[in-house]
Symmetry: C2
Subunit: 520 residues, 2 copies
């Protein structure tokens, strides 16, 4: 059977389970486009900007638990997708970038689109694989898949020169699924040390990261440990996925601002670190510690993110003599009152927590506007909470796109700040084209509000008008309903709790994309 | 006098002539924001996305002839600005990226926003300077300025850890203007060889690049050489700036597609290369040459882009015995008829060439929709033509922003394809905020039309629906008038020549931003 190099690559990946490709192709990727076309089961989703494609692949992986591919055009395509690859890298998700490059002979000519492709892709990838021969593209697919699936999940970039993609191959065979790396073992001594720490006196905190928080089962077991020992379970501020809501074990989140996080952890005598590392602040501030472990607190590194967190939890249960099948304390469902009067961010969350259906997906990137969410989310209907893992704004909308592709039977809610939304606003068009079941809420405060807080905290002096203008995204105010409609997504504005509630309820009762501009 | 490190850096740059900063700051750049605030003469322009900031700095440099600064937030900020930095690098413009980084002690903690900043910035910069001390920030500014101004212009990235920006300095003095590198000398032997080539028989072509095309004076001298010798002057397909229109020496452009460029150059016996390199195609295609010099054509490299093209032209005039003060043949003004009937891209250009005022700036990124422009642009009112230099789409709107900031008394027209426009559509908001005098024309063909051409050319096989969907940006059609209004820019749609003409005329007779969606 005759196939092209692109066919060999894509069919091999498809055989391993790669079923979705988020694409913004150019001339050097035309062979990949037609190769996808020839695979019935592979879904190809067009993004109008590569940052949408990479963020969507991240969101897809968070829900599907396996990698999607992206299709990126040369160095600039990687550049455009870089920020959300950074976020995906911090999320620890599996992801495979297929990056078209110039044909090998053409590269030497330094054509206008030639750039330091390996440099830009390598700077955000765990692994960069440059395909060397067309015949080797099946093996390259297997290496890329195994790399992506290396725990907890890795960003893998496969660079494909155009002449390899268009080469005709006779008798090529699709590569089989490669052996996949297992999580690294947890040392027995670490488990023993953690058990001792949990048995010690004083305040004890188990700090957990993304490899733990997304799994309802793990959280319930941690809930048993907390109930038995009096230890508290606190999650990293922003994690890849958290299984939350009624019927699930509750979990606290570490505060964002360093001072508040230090307060929150104050008096902790023992910190057990599971699937993450000891906490540090997002930014440094003059005269504030960046390292958030209180003075005198002992730290036990139980498992790093790439280690076997399941075994670590089982080890704790066993060492503490806790029955893993006991009933864990779980959150009750609480339906808040409907919000009334002039809208603010807290009222939006109060309303979102009402009609949000069971098993929804919440892609949330709302900075200051999410500060009120914690009053309502722990007791909402059970849902998966996806957060901004790498701090680079403009991730929430693309993640919602990918999550909705991976979970077509689930409602996706995207709650987003206005400043960050403008980074990857092109996501709305993909929601419309694919008719994704996403309700987007834009918190329109017309400000990089978090920066107004930070401005004072870093001691940058008394700001004048010109400085404040750099933090203010009003003047002119953006009209997100017009922007959304311009991209084919129906939308409406809310200025009161009542209006928001009506729109939210209606949006949850229909299928397909809808945007609510919450004027706050 | 007491100042911060950020003050020392910014005031030094301002003293050298850096008067504009295109910014999207984050927490690590707050000190830079307030330092700019304290400099009355420095203009700070907020972009909602870093690709707008970097493209605007490029457009600013094309018109102002000196660097603007950008303000970028950590690695992700550079990533978002990378593609337009690639274009700016290919444009050979001076540009200074000011990149905030985490405080030095904080970097070691691997906080969420930590990334391979030097890797991503280095992969698109001619020079990467990492500031080491607060006291040295004046000297760092001088190094960055001299680097940016190295002919023909360089992308220079200055990484500034936050703790250096916030350091208080006593008795620091602003760095003086450094000595600036001169263009490298042209070898006498190259001039002699070029003179001989121009005196030889057969078809002779002088291929010129960006360091030549933007200067009306140089083009007139080349026009004299063409008239005296019978040689043809042809410019690279896409150059940084071309001085065009009535009263200026005409210049042909090299065709985009390799086959057409090979036809255009067919029969050339002598090619003299001035301020560029021998021509190559954008992409490789199976069985088509990427190198566009015809077989048997002699190539004389007269001057590379970083060399002294003025001296090279003077050398030719002197060697050929041509009076440099003679009257050069120039283009006449031709006013096309007003377009009528159903709109197409050619009719748009026919109309644009009518009311476009003297000394306008045209930022053009329209791929297939610009193919008809050459029938009208050479005889329009005199204007500067800015093009997509690096092939990475999404440059035209940001370049228009920067050009309009640099040329506040000139009309800027931005003629843009719809696919590329969506990459950096956030530019419209900056046009509104700064009330920039920009008329934007969007060629709305609802397609990556150039890819539909390329799909066949690369022999990617018979495309199915799924492949064609990847090249089609209709379904849903975008409504650019709604998108523009949503960002504060007034806009209207044209579907006929008459409607377009009315809108174009009105837009040229008012000040401030306006967008015309040309439905073609």
């Amino acid at each position: 059977m005759s196939m092209t190099g692109a066919d060999l690559l894509l069919q091999s990946l498809y055989g391993m389970g790669v079923e979705a490709c988020f694409a913004n192709p150019g001339t050097s990727e035309m062979q990949l486009v037609t190769a996808i076309d020839r695979i019935d089961g592979m879904r190809s989703v067009l993004a109008l900007f590569e940052g949408v494609a990479t963020g969507a692949a991240d969101g897809y992986a968070r829900i599907a638990g396996k990698p999607a591919a992206t299709l990126l055009h040369l160095g600039p395509g990687v550049g455009n997708g870089w920020a959300n690859l950074h976020n995906a890298r911090r999320a620890g998700v599996p992801l495979i970038n297929l990056i078209g490059d110039h044909a090998v002979d053409h590269l030497a000519l330094d054509a206008p689109l030639t750039s330091d492709l390996d440099g830009v892709a390598g700077s955000v990838s765990h692994n960069l694989i440059r395909a060397e021969t067309a015949e080797g593209l099946g093996e390259a697919a297997a290496r890329a898949y195994a790399s992506a699936m290396t725990p907890p999940g890795q960003i893998t970039s496969l660079v494909l020169p155009a002449d390899l993609a268009w080469a005709e191959l006779e008798g090529a065979t699709i590569a089989p699924m490669p052996p996949l790396p297992k999580p690294a073992a947890v040392e027995d001594s670490a488990i023993d040390q953690a058990v001792d720490a949990l048995k010690a006196g004083g305040r004890r905190v188990i700090l957990v990261g993304s490899p733990v928080t997304g799994d309802e089962g793990k959280l319930k077991k941690l809930g048993l440990i907390a109930a038995a020992t009096g230890a508290e379970i606190i999650a990293d501020t922003f994690v890849t996925k958290t299984a939350r809501g009624a019927g699930r074990a509750g979990i606290a989140k570490l505060q964002y601002f360093a001072e508040l996080a230090l307060d929150q952890l104050n008096g902790t005598a023992q910190m057990i670190v599971l699937g993450t590392k000891a906490p540090v602040s997002f930014f440094a501030y003059p005269n504030v510690s960046s390292y958030l472990v209180p003075d005198g607190c002992a730290v036990t590194q139980l498992a790093r993110p790439e280690q076997d967190v399941d075994a670590a939890i089982e080890g704790l249960l066993s060492g503490l003599g806790i029955d893993p099948n006991a009933a864990a304390p779980v959150a009750e469902r609480v339906v808040p009152d409907a919000p009334e009067g002039q809208l603010d961010a807290v009222k939006c969350w109060q309303s979102i927590a009402r009609p949000m259906p069971d098993n929804a997906i919440l892609s949330e990137e709302a900075a200051t506007s999410s500060f009120g969410a914690e009053a309502f989310l722990p007791t909402a209907a059970p849902f998966d909470h996806l957060q901004l893992t790498g701090g680079s704004i403009g991730q929430g909308l693309p993640v919602a796109v990918g999550a909705a592709v991976a979970g077509p039977d689930r409602k996706t809610i995207c709650a987003h700040g206005d400043g960050g939304a403008m980074y990857t606003i092109q996501s709305l068009w993909t929601m419309a084209r694919e008719n994704l079941d996403v309700v987007t809420v834009i918190f329109a405060n017309r400000s990089y509000a978090i920066l107004n807080v930070e401005l004072g905290r870093v001691g940058a002096g008394n700001p004048g008008r010109k400085a404040l203008d750099m933090l203010d995204i009003g003047r002119p105010d953006m009209d997100f309903t017009q922007i959304a409609k311009g991209m084919g997504v129906d939308a409406a504005k809310a200025t009161t709790g009542e209006e928001f509630e009506d729109l939210m309820k209606a949006a949850c009762n229909r299928r397909g994309p809808f945007l609510i501009e919450a004027v706050i």
